[in-house]
């Protein structure tokens, strides 16, 4: 994926299926808790993983998003959730100690989810992601199509950039006009972009076919991730965390 960071940490070396299962188990833990005190260790754990996988630089890139989510979800939940004894209220809005706590917990939960996803994509290549999905039983064409989608996004954006510049050179102005006028201005962009999308996918399909993509029967895999004791230990530990978190609720 385009956020992948090419380091060789132990998180990078984990079996991709371990990372996928681990990510899901981690998300399940964060859903178990509803107070900031319970949520914070989870967030701390995710940050620890980020340090271990050297993906802090990627987390920094989405810092504005992290802050926005935190502010937005803690204020809205605090104002709208009716729990405890409100010490302030105005129409449908109210604030109580419990609702503020709940709001903060929700903010931390969403951030922990976002950040753990970010750590995952920082240490997993698209091909490894697809490999992990296959290891979990997804058929090859489906996993490959998923990974290809990630690959096509940047290519598509490059094409869009060129078309926008070509039309701007001919005086296309996307800034002015009311909504309907502006919508109409997208036609000169959409037609070439659409044609290119068709052409690119057609060429890509031919390139894939030419490399034996349509072949039936078993394939071999160039990637090889031995499933080691680390993988087993990590899944066991996260599973235990899930059981404890959910039974303690």
């Amino acid at each position: 994926m385009f956020l992948y960071l090419p380091y060789n940490t132990f998180l990078h070396r984990l079996h991709p299926a371990t990372k996928l299962i681990g990510l899901i188990l981690l998300l399940v833990v964060t859903v178990a808790f509803t107070t900031p005190a319970e949520q914070l260790p989870g967030l701390g754990f995710v940050l620890g993983l980020a340090v271990l996988s050297r993906s802090l630089s990627n987390l920094r890139r989405i810092l504005p998003l992290v802050v926005t989510i935190m502010l937005f979800s803690s204020t809205t939940w605090s104002l709208f959730r009716r729990v405890g004894v409100p010490f302030w209220s105005f129409g449908p809005l109210s604030l109580s100690r419990e609702s503020i706590q709940y709001g903060l917990a929700m903010g931390i939960r969403l951030d922990a989810m976002l950040l753990s996803g970010m750590v995952f994509v920082s240490c997993t290549k698209v091909e490894e992601f697809a490999f992990g999905l296959r290891a979990l039983g997804l058929p090859f064409p489906v996993s490959f199509a998923l990974s290809l989608a990630f690959r096509l996004v940047p290519l598509f954006f490059t094409r869009i950039g060129i078309v926008v510049q070509a039309q701007q050179s001919r005086g296309l102005d996307l800034q002015t006009g009311h909504l309907l006028q502006r919508a109409r201005k997208y036609v000169p962009l959409l037609v070439p972009i659409f044609i290119y999308a068709i052409r690119d996918t057609d060429l890509l399909a031919m390139a894939l076919e030419s490399k034996g993509f349509g072949m039936r029967g078993t394939r071999t895999e160039y990637l090889r991730f031995p499933f080691g004791w680390r993988d087993a230990a990590i899944i066991a530990a996260l599973l235990a965390a899930d059981v404890i978190a959910w039974s303690g609720r």
């Binding site: 994926m1 290809l148 070509a166 701007q168 070439p192 044609i195 030419s210 394939r219 071999t220």
Partner: protein, 559 residues
């Protein structure tokens, strides 16, 4: 001896097409042969390539008759993967045929599909990367490679499956001179290990090393000879949309045998026949090509630097003055900053540092729309901008955006179509035009806004010789009527024959800038930049005449 492969009476018509793309092709390829295929756009070259590896008829639908056999085994009607194991196909567009996130995985993809055991895969990937000179690139993201490296990676990803036959469909069209050179070196070296090589190519001088040269026309094989024989007929090549060697064109005009294909042989033939430089004609050459030194500057670039986010500087303190009426060619390798520079001229990009004056005013004080109207920009690929239902509407788009009154727009459209030669085709669907005509349409759509300066990015790429000549002659006419022209190109004969002035760039800087004759005088300097002057210029140098084209050279010889 059993041939490596044999095509018998092969015809193919694309679904929904009215004419066959291939028409009764019969061809036999012996093991060890290297065949180059040439021909105009639409001659059926790519269609033939796609028949060879089974994409036709298994993947691309249509009506097929005839058959293909490899070592006596019938291939027609088999699934693509079955044929593709024996016949590898490399496409022209290297962007669209690469899809992995690192070089190693890209190469391994075919092996995985063909179920090669894991133990062998590593060795074969390493071997294939070594073969194309990409050892050490294993972990790189293909999108960070240069054009030439990408195309060699595409070749490695095919080689790794060890096909018997390697088919390359215009692998160098989008490459700069260095990238082209590397791919041709590779193609020649591969003759040692691949039994059959088929190369579709536009550049005539590169097909000389092939064993056979096949000329296609309208879906048929028109000639199948040794390159030396076929290339010595410049008239035949030219009528079939292939650029003839300049040496043979000159020899023919001098009434000499056209067997001198390379500069050295041609030089001896000319000398032995008693032709020599005419001092009076040579003296006339030394007058400057254009006398524009007293014209006012229309573009004045002052120490401009430009940086894309988080990259190295794409332009590094570039200064340049272009005067009204000049015809300037900007050359240099892919990624040297050519396009970044010209995009500053019409405001698509704005300098990170330094300043530009356009038409006597600070560029920063013009809006993109104001600049766009005065500085026309024709993008490399016309299909990046064509969208309208009719030719008329397409050309009217620019002037309408710039707010011209309707009667004037109509007049402008008529004029622009007249200039590019598409008058009378106003109601046609732009997508039904040929690639060459679409390129002309793109020029017309920019011309209609009546720009004083016209920038063209790679105007000849993807066109056959006929298409290239018509767009270049059009650009020259526009220049002669007073417009300032700036082209970005890799094609040296285009630079030599059409431009007045040549600006050479390297790593974001201008490394040479001057009159064409001056710029092309020093072969060593050009070689430093991985460039080579066209044959006519080199032949002229041998004869002591600093010419730019065959016409000039012919005019300077006397007996």
């Amino acid at each position: 001896m059993q041939p490596l492969f044999h095509i018998r009476d092969l015809s193919f018509t694309y679904r929904h097409a009215s004419h066959p793309a291939l028409h009764g092709i019969t061809y036999t390829h012996q093991a060890g042969e290297f065949t180059a295929i040439i021909g105009a756009t639409g001659a059926g070259k790519s269609t033939l390539c796609r028949c060879l590896n089974g994409l036709i008829p298994a993947f691309i639908k249509g009506t097929l008759s005839g058959e293909l056999t490899i070592l006596g085994e019938r291939m027609t009607g088999r699934p693509v993967y079955d044929v593709a194991r024996r016949v590898g196909l490399v496409f022209q567009d290297f962007e669209a045929q690469l899809f992995s996130t690192n070089v190693e995985l890209e190469v391994a993809f075919g092996l995985e599909n063909f179920a090669v055991p894991y133990e062998q895969m590593r060795d074969r990937v390493r071997e294939a990367l070594g073969r194309v000179g990409l050892t050490g690139f294993e972990g790189r993201d293909p999108s960070t490679l240069s054009g030439g490296e990408k195309q060699r990676l595409a070749i490695a990803s095919i080689l790794v499956s060890r096909p018997m036959i390697l088919v390359m469909d215009e692998p160098t069209t989008d490459l700069d001179p260095i990238g082209k050179r590397d791919v041709f070196h590779l193609a020649r070296a591969l003759r040692q290990e691949i039994q059959g090589i088929i190369l579709v190519e536009h550049e005539t001088e590169h097909v000389l090393t092939a064993d056979r040269l096949v000329l296609m026309r309208e879906g048929r094989i028109l000639a199948d000879e040794r390159p030396q024989e076929l290339l010595s007929d410049p008239g035949l090549l030219e009528t079939n949309g292939v650029r003839p060697l300049q040496t043979t064109v000159l020899l023919r005009r001098l009434g000499l045998p056209t067997t001198g294909l390379d500069v050295d042989t041609a030089f001896h033939i000319i000398q032995d026949a008693g032709w020599r430089a005419d001092p009076a004609a040579v003296a006339r050459l030394h007058q400057p090509i254009s006398n524009l030194a007293d014209h006012e500057p229309v573009i004045d670039v002052n120490a401009v630097s430009y940086q894309y986010d988080a990259g190295p500087a794409a332009l590094d303190a570039v200064s340049l003055t272009i005067r009204r009426g000049e015809f300037v060619a900007i050359i240099g390798q892919n990624g040297c900053g050519k396009t970044t520079l010209v995009k500053q001229f019409n405001g698509l990009l704005r300098p990170t540092k330094g300043s530009i004056r356009m038409l006597g005013r600070e560029a920063s004080s013009w809006s993109l729309a104001e600049l766009g109207r005065r500085v026309g920009y024709v993008f490399q690929n016309p299909d990046h901008q064509i969208f309208a239902n009719t030719v008329q509407e397409e050309v009217a788009f620019g002037p309408r955006n710039f707010g011209l009154p309707e009667p004037e727009i109509d007049a402008r459209v008529v004029e622009a179509l007249q200039v590019v030669g598409l008058r009378g085709r106003e109601d046609e669907d732009p997508f039904s035009l040929t690639k060459g005509e679409r390129q002309q349409l793109a020029v017309a759509s920019v011309l209609a806004s009546d720009p004083e300066i016209l920038i063209l990015d790679e105007p000849t790429t993807g066109l056959d010789y006929h298409g290239q000549r018509s767009i270049l002659d059009l650009i020259r006419r526009l220049n002669q009527t007073g417009r300032t022209i700036i082209i970005v190109t890799h094609s040296m004969w285009v630079v030599a024959e059409y431009a007045h002035r040549c600006v050479m760039m390297q790593r974001g800087r201008i490394v040479a800038d001057g009159d064409i004759r001056e710029s092309f005088k020093d072969p060593a300097r050009l070689a430093d930049l991985a460039l080579e002057a066209p044959e006519a210029v080199r032949l002229g140098a041998r004869l002591g005449v600093p010419v730019r084209s065959v016409d000039e050279l012919y005019g300077c010889l006397t007996r």
